[in-house]
């Protein structure tokens, strides 16, 4: 008879377990599940890898401190994203006026040893243009695009995280798409 693997605990199950036992392993599992997703989401909002790493750490530490009081009124992922979005917005407010590093740095030319220098250079240029276009959006428009388009959330869920109405969230996504479509027209094939 084959041994059956224990079913993976849900996020809420891990939170419940942590609330009762304070077992570090439960935190580590949650951290493993969300570190990549949160870092990616935060990066798309701040457009700087180093800042995204620092903020990801800050978000997790804030979440860990608050976990014993997590009441389960929303899904854990929604709650965690809300902590992340709030923390990131506060960071962006503090940084307001400073240039976005990622957008300011021009793409590196492909090295001489590169097998497809033209293609790599074009790709780097495109990535730079997309970063610059995202940097031009206001934080609320950028957050809307990140949550709905990159994270694949429904407008309702994204609105809950951003604490705005669903209509506002639809509008932000529409508005951001319009700006980005104009800005990135040359990369959007018909």
């Amino acid at each position: 008879m084959q041994p059956t693997a224990a079913p993976e605990k849900s996020d809420e199950g891990l939170v419940d377990s942590y609330q009762r036992t304070r077992r570090k392993q439960d935190l580590d599992v949650l951290l493993g599940r969300y570190v990549g997703r949160l870092q990616g989401m935060i990066y798309a909002m701040v457009l700087n890898q180093s800042d995204a790493d620092d903020l990801t750490q800050e978000v997790f530490l804030r979440a860990i401190r608050g976990l014993p009081q997590f009441a389960g009124q929303s899904r854990f992922s929604t709650w965690l994203y809300r902590v992340a979005v709030n923390t990131t917005h506060r960071f962006l407010e503090r940084r307001a006026g400073s240039p976005v590093d990622g957008a300011a740095v021009p793409p590196e030319p492909a090295g001489p040893g590169s097998d497809q220098p033209d293609r790599k250079a074009m790709q780097a240029e495109m990535n730079h243009q997309i970063t610059a276009a995202l940097a031009e959006l206001s934080p609320s428009l950028r957050a809307a695009m990140v949550l709905v388009v990159l994270e694949g959330m429904s407008a309702k869920e994204a609105a809950r995280i951003e604490e705005c109405s669903r209509a506002t969230m639809y509008w932000r996504v529409h508005r951001a798409r319009k700006i980005l479509t104009q800005r990135l027209a040359k990369y959007l094939s018909p």
Binding site: L27, R65, F70, W79, N127, L150, A167, R177, L184
Partner: protein, 283 residues
């Protein structure tokens, strides 16, 4: 067509996100860094200031964690804060919501009755639009009516049909009060019928010196988002009006909103707007 563009943009952004994602080694190192930082957290969950404010129950729980002496201080602080909030509410209600140095804060006029768009008016507009469309056979793109004068947006050639959504009517009413005047008067008004996501710019030759631009977008839940840009205050003064571009406002159909108050050259202005979708049977 728009859907296709959106899909292409979404794909491009997802591709960008995947390219920008750090590699597994970087993420593992970050995970370890956070795990170590978490180890150094002392008494996680009992530190009052550390509870994220995202949890609606956080303040209640925070209070439960406080020692008795702090509870007493908190009670006094709460009383003081409540008194301050009450005073602020009284002050705000006396000043009005739009009080600001450069805005006419006193005696703001209530929403004038002519700002409202009722069903009969909408039906009449829809009929007029249908009649005009017939006359201009596909070349009419928008229509505006200001103080009995009709302004038409006509293209030289037949235009493709819009996206199938109903036309939107935007009523804008400008109330003004000159220096020394006690009462507000209607300075200008316009009803503009546009299609979804159509930009319309208006500069009526009526001596008012007004310039307007509208852009409306129907949202899936029936709300209507409108961008408005307007220039006021150049009447007979040989100067260009100062444009005020307003951020996107969300409207419930047929519910008027005051969208702007401003003071220029001593004259105070209040601008009201009502937005509605024209009835289906005629659009």
């Amino acid at each position: 067509m728009n859907r296709q563009k959106d899909d292409n943009l979404d794909r491009l952004l997802r591709y960008w996100a995947s390219r920008e994602q750090p590699d597994e080694a970087h993420l593992e190192s970050l995970r370890r860094r956070i795990s170590q930082a978490a180890d150094s957290l002392e008494g996680a969950g009992t530190e009052v200031g550390s509870i994220p404010d995202d949890d609606p129950t956080a303040s209640r729980r925070r209070k439960a964690l406080l020692p008795a002496a702090w509870s007493s201080r908190l009670a006094w602080f709460t009383l003081g804060a409540a008194a301050a909030i009450l005073a602020a509410v009284v002050l705000v209600s006396r000043l009005g919501p739009d009080r600001a140095d450069d805005t006419p804060g006193e005696q703001l006029v209530e929403v004038p009755p002519e700002v409202r768009l009722d069903r009969q008016q909408l039906a009449a507009q829809a009929k007029l639009l249908a009649a005009m469309k017939e006359v201009f056979a596909g070349r009419l793109t928008w229509m505006a009516e200001s103080d009995g004068k009709v302004i038409l947006g006509i293209e030289p050639e037949t235009q493709p049909s819009p996206d199938g959504s109903q036309p939107i009517t935007i009523r804008l009413v400008v109330m003004a009060r000159r220096p020394g005047e006690a009462t507000w008067r209607r300075r200008w008004s316009v009803d503009c019928i546009v299609h979804n996501e159509q930009l319309v710019e208006l500069a009526p030759q009526d001596g008012s010196g007004a310039q307007f631009a509208f852009w409306a977008h129907l949202l899936p839940d029936g709300m209507i988002a409108v961008d408005t840009s307007l220039g006021l205050g150049a009447r007979g003064e040989g100067r260009e009006p100062q444009p005020s571009t307003l951020d996107t406002q969300l409207f419930e159909p047929q519910v008027p909103q005051r969208i702007l108050t401003l003071k220029t050259d001593g004259t105070e202005y209040q601008v009201f707007q009502t937005v509605a979708v024209l009835p289906k049977e005629v659009g």
